[in-house]
């Protein structure tokens, strides 16, 4: 088995989950509590990676972060090399690609916190931010764990986006799923079987964790 590919994949999945915890919390908070009538526009954008072919997402990512775009140029000026076909570019694409897998369980969990408890906290003098950390987060732990674990698992198995944005650079952007593809291309079925079995076991274990933590509520889509 190619341990380098496994290491790259684990790094990518871990960093993606951590980043999504930071980015996903405020987005989910806004989605759960905003009363803006056009909220569904943002909800749909967040959910887009669920239905979009990874190649499409990857294509737009490539264009957006390529050396001819303002973001790409800015990055190249500061870091010295372009974003596409680098680990950071791949990480950025993974975060976008797994966004709904984190945000939606978070938002579902927040929506299930009793409004009366939140109001009680406000009348006791706690600001909205303090209420978030002292009340909403502790009562949403199951949903938070679900979101983090799902985005981790989803990143483990991503293929199309990696191929489009990351390329196939050994030790930098070659992940386990690409490795399996390469093995099959090279007719090395024994290696592909081993790596596939590994990914299967890990994915199953991760989902076991989600279901064990949260037996009743496992929803990729927030239920109204």
């Amino acid at each position: 088995m190619n341990w380098t590919a496994i290491w790259v994949t684990c790094q990518l999945a871990s960093l993606t989950s951590i980043a999504l915890l930071a980015i996903g919390l405020p987005i989910a908070y806004w989605l759960a509590y905003s009363k803006w009538r056009w909220k569904f526009l943002i909800e749909s954008i967040v959910a887009l990676p669920l239905v979009l072919p990874p190649t499409v997402l990857g294509f737009y990512m490539l264009v957006a972060i390529g050396p001819h775009s303002p973001i790409g140029q800015f990055y190249t000026d500061i870091v010295g090399h372009p974003l596409p076909f680098s680990f950071h570019g791949l990480l950025l694409a993974s975060i976008l690609y797994s966004l709904p897998f984190a945000v939606q369980p978070f938002a579902t969990a927040f929506e299930q916190v009793d409004r009366k408890l939140i109001e009680a906290s406000w009348t006791l003098g706690l600001s909205k931010l303090m209420t978030f950390f002292k009340l909403i987060v502790p009562l949403s732990t199951a949903g938070l764990i679900t979101g983090v674990v799902l985005s981790f698992a989803h990143t483990l198995g991503e293929f199309g986006v990696v191929l489009m944005v990351g390329g196939n650079i050994e030790g930098v952007t070659r992940t386990v799923s690409i490795e399996i593809y390469d093995n099959v291309q090279a007719l090395d079925y024994a290696a592909a079987a081993k790596t596939s079995a590994f990914l299967l076991v890990v994915s199953y274990a991760v989902l076991l964790l989600v279901y064990a933590v949260n037996r009743r509520v496992w929803s990729v889509w927030p239920q109204k």
Binding site: D114, K116, L117, E119, A120, S121, W122, T123, L124, G125, L126, S127, M130, K134, L135, P138, L139
Partner: protein, 362 residues
């Protein structure tokens, strides 16, 4: 500016009656104001506007010289800055904290020693030290109510808002805790606004009350006055109790109490936990009128009186008598004709001992 809470606002809703509230509650001396009305009348919404959890569409809310809401000047003080003690109907205890943790929750910005001291103080005040380390789900309804009260008063609020503080409890517990709550409110001396639909609670807890129906405040005044002198038929219908007079229990025998009201002695069913000073409450429909000199009936109370007013209410007639105290009876038009009643007629009022409700007063 006078030390009082002034509400003067409107809030409109799609598909149900809008709410118009004009109310003044004195802050000094601290008193308990009851918002009384049937469910759906808008009393909870008024309380929530006072708490800052909902905003009126027009008008102002001020407390002392602070303006909490002013639609024209676009002033809205958030609930966090109002220094409130707010207790929701189902108590809204935080399930992930212990009783102690719930009470300490709002005590931010004080040292940990001070926090502990104040938590111990309110736990002691409400006699819930023994359950300090339990989680809310392990508590009985009465215990939850005390914890919610403790949490609300721990911050030493300048205004206490209680939404149906007793309605989530079973009847015996409710009667017991109602008296406790009155004692506590007197002891705390924090101005309070209490929402209730129960007239016994209104009489026991309130210094003044506002009767609310369909989003409008119909009458304000001391509870006893409002109950015994409803301004119009609508108020009388909403409060549902027409005669409220002060009495003193002079004797209790065989679970029957003799109550002295002015010069008259009434017989009532005694409940075990009564003080000697009581409000004597009677529903007008429980009072029958009969001609003086007619045969005695099973009713324990027969009072002679003279007719003071006769008010037609459609099929029914409301007759007020002077029996040494004002007494209201509700009879049919045909009964009025048969008895040949007119102003100044002598008549006898009768009611059963079980129809007399005794409410403690302090």
């Amino acid at each position: 500016m006078a030390a009082e809470i002034t509400l003067d606002f409107q809030k409109t809703f799609v598909g149900r009656a809008s709410i118009t509230a004009q109310l003044r509650c004195p802050l000094d001396p601290p008193s308990v104001t009851i918002l009384f009305g049937p469910s759906g009348s808008g009393k909870t919404t008024i309380l929530r506007c006072l708490a800052g959890l909902e905003q009126p569409d027009e008008g102002t809310i001020s407390v002392g010289d602070e303006i909490w809401f002013d639609a024209t000047a676009r002033v809205t003080v958030p609930p966090q800055a109002r220094r409130l003690g707010y207790m929701a109907q189902d108590y809204a205890l935080f399930p992930h904290y212990t009783v102690e943790g719930n009470v300490a929750y709002g005590l931010t910005g004080v040292s940990s020693q001070e926090k502990k001291r104040r938590v111990d103080e309110v736990l002691h005040l409400l006699q819930i030290e023994s359950i300090a380390r339990q989680k809310p789900t392990q508590l009985s309804g009465g215990q939850q109510q005390r914890v919610a009260l403790a949490r609300a008063i721990a911050r030493r609020p300048r205004l206490l808002l209680l939404d149906e503080p007793l309605s989530a409890l079973d009847a015996p517990t409710r009667a017991r805790l109602c008296k406790d709550l009155r004692r506590l409110l007197t002891q705390l001396a924090i101005p309070s606004v209490v929402v209730t639909h129960d007239w016994t609670e209104a009489l026991t807890l309130g210094d003044q009350m506002a009767v609310i129906a369909d989003g409008c405040i119909l009458q304000t005044g001391p509870p006893q006055d409002v109950f015994s002198r409803p301004r119009n038929a609508e108020v009388a219908h909403v409060v549902g109790i027409e005669t409220v007079v002060q009495g003193t229990i002079t004797e209790v025998r065989d679970e029957l109490a003799t109550v002295q009201v002015g010069t008259m002695a009434l017989t009532a069913v005694a409940s075990p936990t009564l003080d000697l000073d009581v409000f004597v409450c009677l529903r007008a429909e429980d009072v029958t009128l009969e001609l003086t000199g007619s045969a005695e009936t099973s009713a324990r109370n027969h009072l002679k009186g003279t007719v003071q007013t006769i008010t037609s209410l459609g099929a029914l007639v409301q007759v007020t008598l002077d029996c040494g105290f004002p007494l209201t009876a509700l009879i049919t038009q045909s009964a009025l004709r048969e008895l040949n009643l007119c102003l100044g007629s002598d008549v006898r009022a009768a009611f059963k001992a079980g129809a007399v409700h005794l409410i403690p007063r302090n």
